[in-house]
Subunit: 443 residues, 2 copies
């Protein structure tokens, strides 16, 4: 990290860049769609032309990471390859070929003859994206910001310093080559700079942390800027009295084992007491998949009867995000108890019911207050790609702006455009001209 | 205020009520639509049945206010009358008759055969609404919260204590009579209670301050909970080189004089230098309407030539929200200068251009980064009722969640409901089952 300048100048520089990003964003967002498309096309080209230089920059980071004994999975995420770059180019080209999301009319109302109001999509503004390790994120997020007319400040992990610099340069050069302001993309380096930026609520509209729950929580607690993300994914799978036993087995194993570190992995199994007699095979399948179980007394008895070993659950296992092949198992007396349990111990991310009873299914769907609520499907489906949203910005457990898996829509806001012929507001009202308020077709 | 208990118990009570409101909200939001409709119908009935008691409670507040020498306009807003109550009943009945906004599908996608995702509207959660003086707001906001399935903590001004208590009781009794939890509506009293609530970001999802910019600003600065509102309305009217002089005159007078205290009143007139020769009649009309002008040197010269007196503008007049019959007048050399001026000095609320040049109109509409952007219409049109949104929750200058005039939609979020037949996520992916991602008709 000897190439990193001292913290204070970096922080001051980041603040100045954030201010400049606002002006650049306005130029980017109000440019013709073709200019943003051209920048994306140019970005795909540059990623091809500079492949060797990008891999060389990445190799520097990899050498340093091996020297610093970075953990295996992190090392794997840090590495760029020709194949990863090809995937990135494809993603960028798809965005370039896709339709422009800006200026799309969402609502059109005639207020009076010759006075037409249109609500249109607009860029959100200036984004601060904080991510760890994976340099691919620079291009994935940078290209999405570009398509949606947003400026973006990108703070990657210091272990990917050289890779990130080289990728940020591709984004900036692509903007420049398309006649757009390169200042709309900023590479941020150093913790002091992030601290400085998190205080600049007038320059930055949204913070998107991509990484561990710890990272998200620490950012949420240190800024007044809205944060899009989820600190925790404590997902429940509820096996109803009317659950199909084979389906229960399959969804418990998939929910827990498909990718245990993911935020949409199942962390607690709730079991209706009437299902306890059929819990054995579910527990056995989980055990065979290498899952350690922490069960309450009733569930433990049911599992023991089926010769499935488990630990007796201590109070701290409820609502815990294991992120590993460990599962808590609790018994409930009714679907209402299950719903109350989810509200008390869950994180509002994703919760699922397994049942053959349509009334139970609809009750669960209507009552559970989580971003994603499933019937007879694995909690692991909660994901922007699986939902068909295209690129995923993140998964939000917040209730404001965007909730659940967030696609490009989460990077947009709206403006209200009114086209008149000289109308004064004082001419309308009781005893004066009435409004027509006629909904018009969106063109 | 002798009836107000000491601050600390009030604060503790408010905190407990906020926690209880979350549970009550979940019951309210997942109840059948007919139950919420019944509660609204009952509210309209109660407002009629209790008219004498409501007016008597209000009379107590009015006596105290006169004793405390409350200013005339505040006194007028504080007063309830039979006519005001009738208007409130009409509004509540209209909401009861209207369609239920919850569970409305916004997007429906088949992920695979027998695996259907629906994004549906849901209540936002628990709202804290802080307002001044006008007790009507209790019913307007309370009924809107009820229709949208939200719990609401209502903090009115202490000068309306008795009126607010009586109105909150109507809301609570209406809920109870409809078999819904009365705890979904809470009357909050005392500053200490508000301070306590503003720290409870896990119990409260959105703060809506309705009142002065000072109130909004102070709340924004003292909470991490998202705040919906606008601290300032610094609206510009730009007279383009191609402005129609008569229209310029009319829109300047309406924008400034129709209701100078409103947030959508015009505060600065921007004048293209090519229009200066026609500024005289605009200035004369403003002067005749009682407006004091602060103009820059070029505008002052143009006004003087037309025998319109004005003060020479000092730097602090730019970007100032007068809230009164005062207007700043600045000269710009081009439409681009006007746009840059709006971005530098405006508050992103509402800005308008007067022009007969379609290219200038479209440039202004696409480039000005404000919640509302108008062509040839008064800035005073920026208003939820005028936009046809029905009840107005507030006007937001924030870019997250809702922007500009906000109707009932601003009190909603979404949930993602997935109905499957036992699908596991591990069965999908490269080399396995593909997703269909087929858009389905909204039913």
């Amino acid at each position: 990290m000897s190439e990193t300048p001292p913290a204070e100048p970096l922080a001051a520089q980041a603040a100045a860049q954030a201010s400049a990003a606002r002006a650049a964003q306005r130029a980017l967002g109000s440019a013709p769609p073709a200019a943003r498309t051209r920048a994306l096309e140019r970005l795909a080209e540059l990623l091809g032309e500079r492949e060797q230089a990008l891999l060389a920059a990445n190799a520097k980071d990899l050498v340093a990471a091996e020297r610093d004994q970075l953990a295996g999975p992190l090392l794997k995420r840090l590495g760029l390859t020709s194949a990863k770059l090809a995937t990135l180019r494809e993603g960028v080209s798809a965005l370039a070929a896709g339709s422009d999301p800006l200026g799309k009319p969402l609502r059109k109302t005639e207020l009076d003859e010759g006075l037409v109001l249109t609500q249109v999509t607009s860029p959100l503004g200036v984004l601060l994206v904080i991510f760890e390790s994976r340099p691919d994120a620079v291009i994935q997020i940078g290209s999405l910001a570009l398509r949606t007319g947003n400026a973006v400040l990108l703070k990657g992990g210091s272990e990917a310093l050289h890779s990130n610099r080289a990728l940020v340069a591709c984004l900036q050069d692509a903007l420049r080559d398309a006649g757009l302001p390169a200042e709309a993309v900023v590479g941020v380096e150093g913790r002091a700079a992030v601290g400085e930026l998190l205080e600049r609520e007038h320059d930055i509209d949204l913070v998107i942390p991509r990484g561990s729950g710890e990272l998200v929580r620490s950012i949420q607690q240190s800024t007044r800027i809205p944060v899009l993300g989820h600190a925790e994914g404590v997902c429940h799978l509820y096996l109803d009295a009317a659950a199909d036993p084979e389906m229960a087995r399959r969804l418990a194993v998939d929910g827990k084992c498909d990718y245990p570190a993911a935020c949409n992995a199942t962390e607690t199994l709730l079991v209706h007491e009437a299902f306890l007699g059929q819990l054995g095979p579910v527990g056995a399948a989980l055990r065979d998949a290498g899952v350690r179980l922490h069960a309450d007394e009733r569930a433990q008895a049911a599992l023991s009867a089926a010769k499935v070993e488990c630990e007796l659950a201590q109070p701290e296992v409820w609502g815990r995000e294991w992120g590993d092949l460990v599962l808590a198992v609790a018994t409930v007396d009714s679907i209402e108890d299950a719903i109350a349990w989810v509200h008390r111990h869950g994180s509002g991310h994703t919760d699922a019911i397994v049942t053959e009873d349509p009334a139970a299914a609809e009750r669960f769907l209507s009552a559970v207050d989580s971003a994603s609520v499933f019937v007879n499907a694995s909690t692991r489906f909660a994901d922007g790609f699986r939902y068909g949203l295209g690129a995923e910005v993140g998964i939000s457990t917040g209730r404001i702006h965007a909730r659940g898996p967030v696609g490009a829509d989460g990077l947009l806001t709206t403006r209200w455009l009114l086209r008149g012929q000289g109308q004064a507001a004082g001419d309308y009202g009781p005893g004066k001209r009435p409004f027509t308020h006629r909904a018009l077709e969106l063109s």
